[in-house]
Amino acid sequence: MIRVQAMPFDAGGELNVFSKSVEGAGAVVSFTGVVRDVSGGLSAMEIEHYPGMTEKALGAIRADAMQRWQLVDALVIHRFGRLDAGEVIMMVATASRHRKDAFEAAEFLMDFLKSRAPFWKKEVTTDGADWVVSRDEDEAALKRW
C-alpha cells in the first residue's frame, strides 16, 4: 500500500496493522524517518511534493520491489506539509518469508524514494529556511540495485 498524506500517523500502530495483515510471512522489516534536531535549532521541516506524480512514482518503486524480491507485501507512508522536529516523516515496511528479502527490499525502497519520488524538503531554523540539497551518495546508492 502507498499513502501520501499531510496528517501525522502512528508508525508503531501502522506497523502492527501491517504485521497482522501479513501474518505467517515470517519476516517483517520496517524503517521510520524522523525529522532530526539539527544544531542551530531546527524549528520545522517543510515538505513539498508533486501531487499525482508522487503517488505514481511511489507505486512504481513499490511494484519494482515486489517484482525483485519475494515479498508478501510492502507499505510506504510519506507525509508532506509542515513537520516539527521529532515528528515521523515517513515509513516503509516489507514482509517476506525470509529476512533477506525483507531487508533488501526495504533498503531498495528507501534508496529510490529518496531520489526518485518527487518530494523536496526545506529546513526551517532560527537562522532562516533552506532547501535540503540532494547528495551525490544518494544518486550513487541507486547504482547498486
Binding site: G33, E48, Y50, G52, M53, K56, A57, H78, I89, M90, M110, L113, K114, S115, R116, A117, P118, F119, W120, K121, K122, W131, V132, V133, S134, E139
Partner: protein
C-alpha cells in the same frame, strides 16, 4: 501546455504553474524560450544540470520531445525519505 515548478524553482520564478503556448520541439527548446522571456526564468534555468524535468509525471532527460505532452514539471533533484 501546463508548466509546473517546484521547490526553489517555484520560488525563483514566483509561481507554481502556468499555461504556456509553445511550438518548442524538446524540453531544451522550451527552456531556451523561457530563459529569453525574463530574468527570473533566466536565473532559474541557468544551470539545467541542477534541475530535473518530468513530462506528464514521468522523469525524462532535457532532450526529450514535447509532442503530445500536456504537463511539464521542472524541479531540483528530489529529497524524499
Amino acid at each position: 501546455m501546463q508548466v509546473l515548478y517546484f521547490a526553489w524553482v517555484r520560488e525563483r520564478i514566483g509561481l507554481p504553474r502556468e499555461e504556456i503556448e509553445t511550438t518548442a520541439a524538446t524540453v531544451n527548446d522550451l527552456v531556451a524560450e523561457l530563459r529569453a522571456r525574463e530574468d527570473r526564468y533566466d536565473v532559474a534555468f541557468a544551470d539545467t544540470s541542477a534541475l530535473r524535468v518530468a513530462l506528464d509525471q514521468e522523469l525524462v532527460e532535457f532532450d526529450a520531445p514535447l509532442a503530445g505532452v500536456r504537463e511539464v514539471a521542472f524541479f531540483p533533484p528530489m529529497t524524499g525519505g
